[in-house]
Amino acid sequence: MIQVRGLEKSFGAQHVLRGIDVDFYVGQCNLIIGLSGSGKTVFLKSILGLHTLDEGHISFDGRILGDMGKKEIKALRQEMGMVFQGSALFNSLTIEENVRLPLDFFSDMTLEEKDQRVKFCLERVRIDPEAFQKTPAELSGGMQKRVAIARAIVLNPKYLFCDEPNSGLDPETAIVIDLLIHEITHEFGMTTVINTHDMNSVLEIGDHVILLEKGKKAWEGTMEEVLQSEDTAVVDYVFRSNLFKKVRAALHKA
């Protein structure tokens, strides 16, 4: 479980995060939604320790990030996996080498065990063995995302973070990626935190949904509660499009 308390972050005069309190639960897909500029990415990077906090604290199963020494942070990082918006695969390495890199750095496995683990993770995200020796540039956007997921889970992390994992993907591939993350979260009992704009993702895999507005938590609930919520922040964000307005009307009628 990840607990965030009183999180504040500014860049110069720009106050991006304004006292966020939230809990992210184990075995759930915790979705952070909000308009562009609402502070989602800064929030996620702050949890990851990529930004230093101005105020507040973050604890990972009781371990407070700010109180940890370098060694403890390093150990914690090995319990984290991250899927970046643009996949962030290393262009100079093959697909197999990309997934193997965290193992080469942080595991005591034998070569054979590493090979098996890499193969398992790539097959788990449905990457064809023929693609193992290709470079990221030779893969489609959807395949790159799946490789990024394989790399994120190769060390068997407790915490998985995804920054807009289905941005730039066609609707079908986006759903495949969403469902894959959802399956993996439940299968490996991870605490997954996902930044997204995509309402399909919210309604498909949103076990726990947090809406950010101007750097503050405006609302939180489950995907079922999103559809029934009368909260103006949720209504304004979620039901902005005509399609979702019709969906909401139909649900109310039903």
Partner: protein
């Protein structure tokens, strides 16, 4: 402007502190080091060869034309060509060219990794990106640039000899004997010392600019250009400082 320069200099030294952070997985660094040798060193051999041969040839032609005097033996032309190549043209000019080729490559590669979040990916994994990405490049430059410069010296002398022979500007036997006349071996030490310093500048200055890119593809291009300008200034400045220190 002075404030900006001092700020930049301070950040450069902090960056070096990160780069020289003790590597924890030498095996991974060594893999990366051999990749960089190929990418930054071996790929420059053809360019350095071409430039060196013609640099030596031009130097011989210019010296022969300017020293055309019946009282001056052709061996003097050879000495002038040799000293020019060994002391200045091979270490400084070739380093300036490598700053353009290798330095811009390092800056744009790291800049691209920064804007595509590959560096963040390394940090999230618990890997120090400055050390993992820059140290192998620096070691590759420090090891391979001197080899390139020695190679450049040899090819420059060969180019100078054949230009004199081909254009019938010198008596080749006398000219060749001039190459071996009154040679001061310390000049090689001086030249390689400069090369080491220039290699360090090329690898670290370009990496610093690439590593600190903020924005997108346009900023990567700008950082690459800025890095080449900064490297050229630094190489020229240190050329003067080292010449003063080592040859006086």
């Amino acid at each position: 402007m002075i404030y900006r320069f001092m700020d930049g200099l301070g950040r450069y030294f902090l960056f070096l502190g990160e780069v020289f952070h003790k590597p924890e997985h030498w095996k991974e660094y060594s893999k990366s080091f051999f990749r960089e040798i190929e990418l930054l060193g071996l790929s420059s051999v053809a360019l350095v060869s071409f430039i060196s041969v013609f640099m030596g040839a031009v130097l011989t032609i210019q010296t022969a034309i300017n020293l055309e005097n019946p009282f001056l033996p052709d061996s003097y032309i050879a000495i002038a060509v040799r000293e020019g190549i060994v002391l200045e043209f091979a270490p400084t000019i070739v380093s300036l060219i490598l700053a353009g080729k290798v330095g811009s490559n390092i800056a744009s590669t790291l800049g691209n990794m920064r804007v595509t979040e590959q560096m963040d990916a390394l940090r999230v994994m618990g890997i120090n990106p400055a050390s993992y990405l820059v140290l192998p490049k620096l070691l590759a430059c420090l090891l391979f640039n001197p080899i390139l410069i020695i190679f450049s010296m040899a090819l420059g002398l060969v180019g100078g000899y054949y230009a004199g022979d081909f254009l019938n500007l010198v008596n080749t036997e006398v000219f060749l004997s001039g190459y071996f006349m009154d040679f001061n071996p310390f000049y090689i030490v001086y030249s390689l010392t400069k090369t080491f310093v220039f290699a360090f500048i090329i690898a670290t200055v370009s990496a610093f600019f690439g590593y600190n890119v903020e924005g997108g593809a346009v900023e990567v291009g700008k950082a690459s250009t800025k890095s080449v300008v900064a490297m050229s200034f630094s190489i020229i400045l240190f050329n003067y400082i080292l010449t003063n220190l080592l040859l006086q």
